[in-house]
Symmetry: C2
Subunit: 222 residues, 2 copies
């Protein structure tokens, strides 16, 4: 029995060695995502290696420098995370704007309100990486601006062709968007207690904002 266990354990301990280059690389990236998300990019390569059950120099076989690994992590987490179908969803005027926004934030939060995503994003921002500004630009152009336009339509305001979206209109949507994002910051960065019914929060907030904007409109505020 002991023999069997030993051989089994041996296998369990050693069998994972000598992966194919592709598998090992992917494994490293995967673990690096968790690792850097937890402690930031100051984390030591030796500790990362330990978590992978490999030696530290092996990391350098796959990534020439730590910075290269970090950039790979960025790519893995942030590339192609914005689904183009979301913009389509938002513009679908056969549905109520309330439902569209609810659906959108359900999808959006599933993709981005994750422990790794949120934390790496904030670490990256504090580091002064270009990533965040680039991401914000995309969010603004492909998501928030369309939302502004749908709000225009919802409230019966002039179309974008007649009058471009103003800075304040965009900021209004940013506060909603940022407020919902901040829910994830409270949860994953501060480890604070938050409501466990995020869709309910979205629904309530969206209702309030839409009703509020519509009410402002009826009082003659474009």
């Amino acid at each position: 029995m002991t023999k069997a266990m030993n051989s089994k354990r041996k296998k369990a301990t050693k069998v994972r060695r000598r992966l194919s280059a592709n598998d090992r690389e992917q494994q490293i990236v995967e673990e690096a995502i968790h690792f850097f998300a937890e402690g930031g990019f100051g984390g030591q390569t030796r500790e990362l290696a330990q978590r992978l059950n490999i030696t530290q120099p092996l990391l350098y076989r796959y990534f020439p420098t730590k910075q290269d690994l970090i950039e790979r992590v960025f790519n893995e987490v942030y590339i192609n995370r914005i689904n183009p179908s979301w913009a389509t969803l938002l513009r679908d005027r056969t549905r109520s704007l309330h439902d569209r926004l609810g659906d959108f934030y359900r999808h959006y939060s599933e993709a981005t309100y994750r422990y790794e995503w949120i934390r790496l994003y904030m670490f990256s921002g504090l580091r002064g990486e270009i990533l965040n500004r680039r991401y914000i630009r995309i969010v603004e152009d492909t998501l928030l601006m369309p939302i502004c336009e749908e709000i225009r339509d919802y409230c019966g305001w002039p179309s974008v062709d007649e009058k471009p979206i103003t800075e304040l209109e965009l900021e209004q949507v940013w506060v909603m968007h940022g407020g919902l994002f901040y829910y994830a910051v409270r949860k994953h960065i501060y480890h604070s207690e938050v409501s466990d019914d995020f869709p309910a929060v979205v629904s309530q907030v969206v209702t309030t904002v839409l009703e509020g904007l519509q009410s402002r409109m009826s009082k003659g505020k474009p």
Copy 2:
């Protein structure tokens, strides 16, 4: 001329040495705030010393460990930053709730939407410091809950005595609060372009939220 310049330069370089212990300590804390806010708590003590024009071991005369200095920075930045008069302001029902919230966020943002405050706060959160949760608790108890109560009154809902503030009501206010806070995150962490008229943003958001909530109420949603 060269002589005069030399002696002058010498003076300029050396005259600031040998401060009183109190002055030196304060000077170190002050610089440490900027230093850690920029690069995080991983910043090297040697670099901090260089910026202070002192040698690195001198830091350890005033702070036994780096961690001690960091905690001192926390105290300096976060202790007594919440002005009790804000809660009073918020409860002053002789004024419109819109004006009260506008004033409150003017004061609150002046105190906390600062480069150092925001960044140290986020660095601290990512580090897992208790600071953030403690701060959040205070914000919730002394600011957001009162706001919830005022909203109840504003909308003509039952008082808190009759029915405690629900989780969703608090979350609604958190999204507004967090959304406004996120304005500062975009500015000071992502270095993104934001509207330079924050009071206008506040005014607009507050109007929308208040109108929206009131409108929901009139449709029978407490």
